[in-house]
């Protein structure tokens, strides 16, 4: 049994030690983030690295990041979820409508006073339900993820408009709800803006849970296996429909969570919230090293990707670059990221 062929040793000799090329490829994105931070610090005369600004950047990207975490699971399995922005909007208006101060003006459910948790659960539930429908369309009706979620993108946004009726946002939300988007953890009452904003806490929490799911559970292995080779995964006993359903439901749920945080931060549920955020989330995921070819990706990569987007946006803001140009820059970044993905993960002939 142990007649190891002699070539094994020669193979091992060649690859012994750290493969620096692979190391650089893997962690390049962190280097790029640090370079950007330093460059912007110099350009803005240090303003961009003030703690208040840094915390602000992270808070700004927490919605992108939370959605990007769901998107990472989706893209690893060779899918895509275009509906997250619309689901965010729909969840935001549903949640907001249920947490309005019942005595105010322009109240959806005048006179009905429900606990805040009901609004939160409804928002999350609507997101999860929309994601579940995506999953059903993809796994049972065999629709391509692009098509199914493109349809849902329109449907969810339409429902958000219908739900708001005259198009005016639901405002006058209860302070307990707004606290989710505006509050701080470890806040020192004597110093305003101290501590960690709650959206950031939730972003970190989501990222940690997702990292555990992806790296330390059977479910996570199955996600990679499906992306690596769906047929082989099925033959290996993986129920593809089940995993697909879970992944898209999770993506919808996270979009719902982002919707709640966003409406709580702005203090109103607007039906147009989240438009275009799917592109930001996809960009964060791809520049974080998740491959459009499936089977490759990590949560920490997506987190860094989201931070990079935030740093760039914030830097351009501080430098006074027009927001229109920022959109152009964003498009350039996503194309660049995909070119890098193509190069890096080109299948061997």
């Amino acid at each position: 049994m142990s007649n190891q062929p002699p070539t094994t040793t020669s193979l091992q000799v060649i690859t012994k030690g750290i493969d620096w090329a692979a190391f650089v490829r893997k962690y390049m994105i962190i280097g790029i983030l640090i370079l950007f931070v330093i460059a912007l610090a110099i350009l803005t005369g240090g303003n961009s690295v003030q703690p208040v600004n840094l915390v602000n950047v992270i808070r700004q990207v927490s919605a992108i990041g939370i959605i990007g975490v769901g998107m990472t699971f989706v893209i690893i399995t060779l899918g895509i979820d275009l509906s997250v922005g619309s689901i965010l909007g729909l969840s935001a208006v549903v949640a907001a409508s249920l947490v309005q101060i019942p005595t105010g003006s322009l109240v959806k459910f005048a006179g009905i006073d429900l606990p805040v948790i009901v609004g939160i659960l409804a928002g999350l539930g609507v997101g999860a339900l929309a994601g579940f429908v995506n999953g059903l369309l993809i796994s049972r009706f065999r629709l391509a993820p692009f098509i199914a979620t493109l349809g849902m993108m329109s449907i969810a946004r339409g429902f958000a408009y219908i739900y708001t009726g005259d198009g005016r946002p639901f405002s006058n939300l209860k302070p307990e709800y707004n606290y989710l988007g505006q509050g701080y953890l470890f806040n020192d009452p004597n110093t305003p803006l101290s501590g960690i904003p709650l959206p950031v806490v939730l972003f970190i929490g989501v990222a940690i849970i997702a990292t555990v799911l992806l790296g330390y559970t059977k479910f996570g292995r199955y996600v990679y296996a499906i992306g690596g080779n769906e047929t082989a995964a099925r033959v290996s006993g993986i129920s593809i429909p089940k995993i697909t359903l879970i992944i898209y439901t999770m993506s919808g749920l996270l979009a719902g969570l982002a919707g709640i945080l966003w409406s709580a931060r702005t203090g109103s549920g607007n039906s147009t919230l989240g438009q275009g955020i799917e592109l930001d989330a996809i960009t964060a995921t791809i520049i974080g090293g998740t491959s459009f070819k499936g089977g490759i990706g990590s949560i920490w990569g997506t987190v860094v990707g989201a931070l990079l987007i935030g740093v760039i946006n914030n830097g351009l803001d501080l430098l006074g670059v027009s927001p229109f140009w920022q959109i152009v820059v964003k498009g350039g970044i996503i194309i660049l990221a995909i070119i890098i993905d193509e190069r890096k993960n080109a299948k061997k002939a």
Binding site: T8, R221, A225, G295
Partner: protein, 502 residues
Amino acid sequence: MGEYIVEMHGITKRFPGVLALNDVQFKLRPGTVHSLMGENGAGKSTLMKILAGVYVLDEGQITIEGVPTSITSPRDGLVHGISMIHQELAFIPELTAAENIFLNRELRNKVGLVSKKHMVEETQKVFDRWNININPASRMKDLSVAQAQMVEIAKAIAFGSKIIIMDEPTSAITEREVARLHDMIRQLRAAGTAIIYITHKMDEVFAISDEITVFRDGTWVATEPASKMDRNSLISLMVGRELTQLFPKSEAKIGEVILEVEHLNRGNHVKDVSFSVRRGEILGFAGLMGSGRTEVLETVFGIHAAESGTIKVNGKEVKIREPHQAIAAGLGLLTEDRKKTGIMGVLSVRDNMSVAALPKFTIGGFLRKRLIEKECEDQRQSLALKTPSLNQLIQNLSGGNQQKVLLSRWLLTDPDILIIDEPTRGIDVGAKSEIHRLMSELAKQGKAIIMVSSEMPEILGMSDRVVVMCDGRLVGEISRADATQENIMELATRFSEEIAVA
């Protein structure tokens, strides 16, 4: 035989972590068939891909017709008259044979539009000249693998290739089609074309080659006229050691019936098939390509849903409509097509190995990483897997080592019944005999093994009992003692004869 048409000297090629070719030489004479032999990972395909321009060499020199030449793209290869017929044929299924041949150099009519008629006529001329009996207007997707291969060869010669590389051309075609291919090769040779032939099949090598070059572990070992070699000397050059036994079949105690399949039906591929297998038994499924062997076993395993029929494991009927139900019932299936349905290319050896057994390796959904590491390491050792580490991506391994990983994937699930479809297709002699030895060992442990194989020596060498399929039906059963190449072939072609009579 004059001077060389191709000379390659000092060729070195590195891939991340692997020295694929180390100072290799190769010389080809015009109008000859030159076979390349070697275990998988020996470097044959890499060298040929360098010649055809698919890969670019790191060091070394290529001389074509005496002129030092740089080949850096497949286009360069074509310009120098080099065509490579890949193992997986590359054509556009929706286009016709003629359109595929003229792809990218379409013939046009006076107005400048593509003329299908003209292309069909020209293709017919080429087909006539080389006795190829295919309608140029038929779509590629309607052709058999062997026919598609002929079209690719016609494409190469139609545009003046002087060197045609064939990478395992016979791995997916029937014996009759192999004979036809070899006739074609002889015609080409007579017309002065040089053929480079890569294969693992010994009998073919001696039937067709003028010269043989042997590689081992990325180095050149020998080049000899085929007439000066025989099977044993060739094998020992390839593996660098004498193989004690190619089919190490040892007698296992045959126990009670463990799997019974009755009246299984699915479409045209599976017609009223019944069979059973016992513990300790290796049951061989023989038959021609397309006879339904793979389909029967994929239906048993739940990859395709059966239309009717029953499956019993240990005497109890089981419902299998999805592979996970088959796995739960104690079955495992090592599929035929390693690349399409076996490996997860961008995943590590460890992930590929452990994927089917993960339910066993988790507590409450969480991975028991240390246990997985230990079990995978054990498999790596006992199967003598050649990989720098379990973290290596499986796509970087040679075919034989990939096959070992996939075998481990099923061994880790500890199945009672292991179905292996083409256990050694396209893998080298050394890995082949290790896999055969392992199959014997598993049978000894009381597992039932069902093996589909297109290689007659494998069927005869490994099976305790052979069942033969033809056109979706199970047409006969032969015991190990009675099985011969002749009576298996007789059964495998039985249905076609009946049709011929009718």
